[in-house]
Symmetry: C2
Subunit: 80 residues, 2 copies
């Protein structure tokens, strides 16, 4: 089973990478771009076949390693 995790800065948390992207896009001449937020995406290959157990395991991975839950939120998608 494959899992995809998105880790994004929480709303209100400063996102210097997103700001840098927004400024670079503006300086390249792209108009009409508002807020930009940049995060991480992590694709995992799992041997677990039960979706509920897989989601639990990935949730634990997010809390222990992948996301800093003080300033980042995460989302999990399973590709069964």
């Amino acid at each position: 089973m494959k899992a995809r995790v998105h880790v994004m800065p929480k709303p209100g948390v400063l996102d210097p990478q997103g700001k840098a992207v927004a400024q670079a896009l503006a300086s390249l001449g792209f108009k009409g771009v508002g807020e930009v937020r940049q995060g991480k995406v992590i694709d995992l290959e799992l041997t677990e076949t039960d979706p509920a157990l897989a989601r639990d395991a990935v949730d634990q991975m997010c809390r222990k390693l992948l996301a800093n839950t003080v300033v980042e939120s995460y989302g999990i998608e399973l590709d069964t």
Copy 2:
């Protein structure tokens, strides 16, 4: 309109971040984790309302700034 861009290392391209995550997960005791790939996700707020034009614009942004198409592939999702 909102757009989400995923930028991932192409298959076959070394991904040291993904490898580091896989090793860290293993050392934390998570079993059954195979290949891990890490990429970027960029959320953009666009004033463009036409989906086709928005996709074209974001595609240009990917080619010019967001992705290094030699070693990275990208995908665009529009939230209309």
